[in-house]
Symmetry: C2
Subunit: 240 residues, 2 copies
């Protein structure tokens, strides 16, 4: 009996798309059972704010893209993070979230209630360690982005963002199986999203995209599709 139940519980994680990359990969069987007990799956449609009102503050991203935004009082807005599977959403150990989380595409989340998850962090140091490493990676990414925001030109900024998406989107199409230097993906962000992310206006973004297209660095296809024929060339444009 007991075995059957446990098997059933663990099965939920077994079918998880990010089972072996997400922070929960660190915990053993016991931890997984405890996590499972408080976890809820949730679908969030594109454009919806995550965890604004309710208890859905912490979550693993199973699929989709989430953006974190901050705003000034007068409405000026800046995206401070872009999260992909298997990233973790939420600011642990704080009563207030210093930003808004919003689904950019349709998103599948494995959510955890705040209190329950934080007590599991205490109980399983390996889980906390994994989250710590994830946070360190986020901090590195934030530093990279500060360099972009402070010192890169509009052209470099747009190229950098496309590069980030090609590198982070899972199951990206590498058009040439043998040649990994090209890729294509569907651009999930609007021009306004991109602008908020790069500290530009949407008009400037549009112009820079046209320019990238006219120089052959990218091609636009139907339905927001983007083809990067030469990733290294894009890297060169993006600067370092």
């Amino acid at each position: 009996m007991r075995l059957a139940v446990r098997h059933c519980e663990i099965l939920r994680c077994d079918t998880c798309a990010v089972r072996h990359q997400a922070v929960c990969n660190a915990v053993g069987v016991d931890g997984l059972r405890d996590l499972n007990r408080i976890a809820h799956h949730r679908h969030v449609p594109a454009g919806r704010v995550i965890g604004g009102d309710e208890d859905v503050i912490f979550a693993n991203i199973q699929s989709g893209i989430v953006k974190l935004t901050k705003t000034l009082r007068d409405g000026r807005q800046q995206n401070v993070g872009l999260l992909f599977p298997p990233d973790f959403v939420g600011r642990v150990f704080s009563d207030t979230t210093p930003y808004w989380s919003e689904a950019v595409t349709d998103v599948e989340l494995c959510t955890f209630p705040r209190a329950g998850f934080e007590s599991l962090l205490k109980r399983y140091p390996d889980l906390e360690h994994q989250l710590f490493e994830h946070t360190l990676d986020q901090l590195d990414a934030a530093h990279d982005w500060m360099l972009l925001l402070g010192r890169k030109t509009a052209q470099e900024k747009v190229a950098s963002l496309f590069l980030l998406i090609t590198l982070r989107t899972p199951d990206i199409d590498h058009d040439d199986a043998s040649e990994e230097n090209s890729a294509s993906f569907v651009l999930p962000l609007t021009r306004a999203d991109i602008a908020d992310f790069l500290g530009l206006t949407l008009e400037t973004v549009s112009r820079q995209i046209t320019r990238l297209r006219s120089t052959g660095a990218i091609r636009l296809t139907k339905n927001h599709g983007i083809v990067v024929p030469d990733i290294d060339a894009l890297k060169a444009i993006a600067g370092t």
Copy 2:
């Protein structure tokens, strides 16, 4: 005997200026002894790079200010962090440091060798937890800074930096003991430093400082002294 020795070891931490704020505050007597065993005090003169060549990768700041900078290949430069006592310097759990650490003022450090410190992190989860919380704070600060870099005007940027320094500098002079709304401090950064921090040029920084002075938001005194007569007014200029 044993007691005497232990007392002696702990005494080093007892005289530490940041004993109760730094990450090591989390560990008990045993942990403190182990930390002490691998800790070395080090003085770093202003302008010197920290941990470039040697093993001094991790450290608590006891006094002074440290900046973290990243550069593009062509020399464009961006400061991605400003650390005050009792902040922790160093990127744990990674072979490479993604930025340069440099002493802005003369700095007193309590340094730890890499391997030794990381093994203590494993042994004392409370220490790791404390460092985790510190990293989360750093990430929040980085997000704030991204908003500044992406969306604030030059005037707001300079005001924001002065505000940061008034709020983070320890034992700052509050000119009016009863009225906490004014402050004065010594500006440790050159115009070029400030520019690298705000994503501006040093000329623009200079002009904005002159402008802040002419509007009465700040006053400049001898030896790089800065007086903020009305912190709330500076906050208003800095935006939110």
